[in-house]
Symmetry: D2
């Protein structure tokens, strides 16, 4: 794709959809059996994507990406979200996309050279070590990982989990408290660390909903034991950790919503296909029953209004910045996660016993996307935060 001109977004989306349908959806059965074992195959698909000029569409140009505006990437992301490997194969997968944006935003020229370039190029993978098993992520006061300055180094100790994709990652961005006496939101800083660092102790890939395959599609538990990094490995100023995390999470939440819309769309397709095929009495299909019809319509409503709102918020955020869109981003985070869960639940129910099996796309989505209402802030945290912003206008 030429760097200067994006083709009309619907044309781009159609190309991507065709690729997803032809190249990626057929891999799902294999993916479900062993996601890690599929990585070489996915690597080949990534190469094709690069050749097609569709690589890293949403990443900043200066970082080697293609700079697709957020509202357009929303459209693309919905296509990629239709299959679990979509974003990965097109080089726009979490957590790398978020890490790339962080590096682009706050990295030194040396950090960009060392970490950002190979990351955007897809030559390495990364992870983000923020969540801790024993502290509530929504409360900065509780963050317990410490980074203590010793001369030209920081020594980091802590316990992290849900380090997505840490297994196989080359480097990590670590969130740690540098000044426990500072005001809560100025206590932490971010650090770049190679996973080959001897202080980076990989504990396990956490079994999530029964699965612990490893590789990109995994979530690790990590212990940081006297992990030493040079001062030059600090990402951004000391004390800027939460500020940077917010910068990362704002677009990150929109990215999640856009991906969820793709999962919803795929579920609805699978439901409709199943409904027109499945015979429930001679000459009568699931699609002929009122109950299944009403689920299809409810899915359509959940999807349509979530999509309309996400597009609006993406445009607003792009125009006025994520800070201005904070309230709306909070709303879509829990609204779309809720819609996703309802859509998947209806779709699973319409599949009957098949819906419980890995022969069906919906079973995978149902169990793993339950996390949508939890990660990057559980529904409740977003609801309370949105309400407080609204109530300010009445006090």
């Amino acid at each position: 794709m030429a760097a200067d001109a994006h083709p009309p977004i619907e044309e781009l989306a159609a190309r991507i959809r065709a690729f997803v349908d032809r190249e990626l959806i057929p891999l799902e059965a294999e993916f479900l059996k062993n996601a890690a074992a599929l990585e070489p195959v996915l690597e080949a698909k990534r190469e094709e994507v690069r050749k097609l000029g569709l690589w890293a569409l949403a990443l900043p140009r200066e970082a080697g990406g293609q700079g697709l505006p957020l509202a357009q990437f929303a459209r693309v992301s919905e296509e990629l979200g239709r299959t679990p490997t979509g974003h990965y194969v097109f080089g726009v997968q979490a957590p790398d996309i978020g890490n790339a944006e962080l590096l682009h935003l706050a990295g030194t020229p040396e950090q960009k050279e060392q970490y950002l370039k190979p990351l955007v190029a897809g030559r390495v993978r990364s992870c983000f070590a923020m969540t801790e098993p024993h502290t509530a992520g929504a409360n900065p006061v509780l963050l317990s990982t410490r980074a203590v300055r010793e001369g030209d180094e920081y020594v980091i100790d802590g316990h992290k989990w849900f380090c997505s994709s840490a297994d196989g990652a080359t480097f990590a961005i670590i969130m740690a408290v540098t000044d426990p006496d500072a005001p809560p939101y100025q206590r932490a800083s971010m650090f770049l660390a190679d996973t080959s660092n001897p202080g980076w102790k990989f504990v396990r890939n956490i079994p999530v909903m029964g699965e612990a395959h490893g590789g990109y599609f995994s979530h690790a538990e990590i212990r940081l034991e006297k992990l030493r990094v040079p001062v030059s490995a600090r990402l951004g100023p000391e004390g800027a950790g939460f500020l940077l995390a917010q910068e990362r999470l704002g677009p990150g939440r929109i990215h999640h919503c856009m991906r969820w819309l793709g999962i919803c769309a795929r579920a609805q397709e699978e439901l409709c296909k199943r409904a027109v095929r499945r015979e429930i009495a001679p000459g009568k299909r699931l699609a002929d029953t009122q109950l299944v019809q009403s689920w299809i319509a409810e899915n359509a409503a959940d999807i349509a209004c979530s999509r309309a709102l996400v597009m609006q918020v993406a445009e607003h955020a792009e125009k006025h910045g994520f800070k201005a869109a904070r309230e709306e981003v909070g709303i879509i985070k829990f609204q779309v996660a809720g819609a996703l869960q309802r859509v998947l639940d209806r779709t699973l129910q319409a599949h009957g016993a098949l819906g419980m099996t890995d022969d069906a796309f919906v079973a995978f989505a149902f169990r793993h996307e339950r996390a949508a209402r939890i990660y990057d802030g559980p529904d409740e945290v977003h609801k309370l935060s949105v309400a407080k912003q609204i109530l300010k206008r009445y006090r």
Copy 2:
């Protein structure tokens, strides 16, 4: 307002909002006691609106309105919907706005002169006699009112109800079967009839949710007993009744959704105001509690995504016609009606006992807007219809 140039929509909305806040919301207490008795006061307000150049904004210019595009009227309508008399005072109230559109679309020059002109000017009111107590409105085959041609006249017999605003209306548009043997959707025609016609038997204002005040804010039961109209009183071709009804209902449903968004917005305002005022323990307000906060956020999400979708559909319908937007109009009809009910329910609950009384806006809205999920097609009819349109793409 100059006929040629609409001021930027947000400026227009702000002017209307100020009028609603200053002139109409203070009338609500009186309105709830006796809506009919308030009509002279409302007439004076209408006169002010005319002077401000804000009359009949959404009606076609050729008919004497101001031709505001649908997506802009959506914004205006949300402001008007904040109080029960808003649309009436601004001359854009159902059923008159729908009848005006019908007359504009299908009326002869004489019909327009006689009926449309005074209607748009607000000098007379009208009603629409379609719904029947003993037949299911969603099924054209069941329509039982008959119009039999006798020479230059039609003789109409039937039983109608939910003739909104029939009490005090000058004329009615009546839906009646002219050819029971035609294909279902070609059986009926529409007729204009004066309510002074001796065949127009006013039975009663139906008590709806405990109220039967009469006047504009009422719903009548009517018997048509050998009601005779000249052939020239037929609106549109013979057999075009359902076609015209669809033309009327498409924009009508969007109009309802836009008005409901106004009710939602007002409810949310009332909830927030109540929450910051109501003390539940010394120094602690309702607004400080998680449960009320979560309701405020859920209201915000219901409103935000409904509004985003309605706007999108209004733009789509305006650009490509209501026929192209049929599936989406079906979706917003049940989606926004559902959001409305949820918003009102949360708001009422947050009001406690006060929410059950006519001292609170929400009590009126809660009981009357329960009808939103029923009129112009119950949720279920829209859901099944939307699903069938979606499923066509899979068969």
Copy 3:
């Protein structure tokens, strides 16, 4: 009915059901038009009930009632709840039944003679003045009505509302703070006062969901202005107000749940009757559609599990006292109120436009029983209280 032997409960329930069907349900149309005007007719029905030996079944024998055990009254109450006048006509209506229990429990012989006897006999009516418009009822600290001792009298000042049935009541039980410095739950006391007392200022019958008919079926706003009562009019010890209120509310909440089950049962009957009658296409009834069938089943489930639990709790409370059943009573209060709202909502929807009119039982129930989730403690207060009791077992 002989004082010593209750007939088997199902036989008793069947007799009552027959009376309700024959004598009371036919009065509903009249009742909805003007409940106050119907009182003379209801008085005659009460006389018939007395003759049938079915009067005041649930009241204590010593107080002139028939002492039906709570779990048996639950069954009876479900029959009475099928129509709005049921409990009233059988002499077991709130607030009188609760006031009678209070007088029975805490009244002096003189108080019983003067107030309890005529109340149980149905010769007078009473009311209970506890709720205040400007304080949250769930928090005893906020109660603002004051009773100040002056010699042999108390002087009471305050502002009350939702004094149900105050219009036409002969006397009231008033809750007022006697010692603002006592521990919160020992601050208030109860007082008996005649409504002819010059300090009892009747402000208005509050319009509730559009209705303010007056008479038994009303809710008043009252001002207490230097209302003087002799010390002998205090009900129970000074400071025992909240304790007594709890004694009154425990069984009161079970009584509400039992009545709500009757409303649910009636709604389900109306839904089924409507479903088998209403034609939606030639030869096809509402009852033949999956969506209406699923509502009927969901109603049945809501009713069946609520009923099973209410019965169990009634038995438990009767055996071990209301204090032991406190957690369970909290659960049924919000569980059954929620089931009631769902049942009424489904039933209304199945009625279509008819469901919005006073031609249908459901419209009355829908608007008035919305209060079920609010009075005697809103859902939220009960939920938090239940949770705290459960959590105690884990701390």
Copy 4:
């Protein structure tokens, strides 16, 4: 346990609860990693249960069980349901318990000797081959597996799945059409077949929600290819297949409900434990927040009313037979499955990220018990069936 006298049920339940807490819950982590590998350990636990006299409590005495009445077993089953291995270790696990009841009911003395005795003793396992991948189980007309009589044998061909516990089972009960021209409910018969029969082709253990461990805790896909059984292997009369299936499913559904109540109870325990432990701000626990408190209360209500109804239905079914209780069994099937899903969803959400991992009980239950709304008839089939039974009383 003496065969003649059951200890009071609460004492029995307490003994079992203690065993579950001490012996089985600690095995859960191992179980989640590899259920099949745990079987030898479980075998030892079963031996302890036998020694304690708690084996096969719910099975008929004549079959070697202990004949615990259904309503008492409900109480026991709730304790066993608290951990995934409970029923298995106590010898009352599906599908064996249902197969045992079938053999007890319809088996010949030879069949009982050969199959029932070792089954009840726990020396062998069995499976039930009814569900087919390509036909809707709710419709008998669609059953496609055929059993053709050839001399003294039946030759069975078909395709089955969700043969729970087929992996490792010694024999199967197979449902097959013997007379395709009979009235629908008389077309099928049941057959006993050893899994060593060459016509029994084990295809795979179906991966269910990401897991395919094999052994008792598995669901197999099976092909029946010219599987030959002697006529003496038919279970019950020819054509009695559906009748027997109903006999099996009636109590089976109550058994499921009772087990689900145990899962609910356990989830609620885990939620409460987590809530009192998890710090969300200094000195503030999850248990101190309104939202988590409201979930705990909602869980309590869901559990309490489901339990009350299940107990009532169990008593009714035992007294009057499953046929008389058919409507109620249909209600509890979807009511309790729904309550289960809601309870698990709230519990998972309260766990945050931990709830997605196999470190938490709830993750396993959330993904696997989604099937509760599907197996033994999906919610929708039960709802429609319940409604039709209710509506019969109005036609």
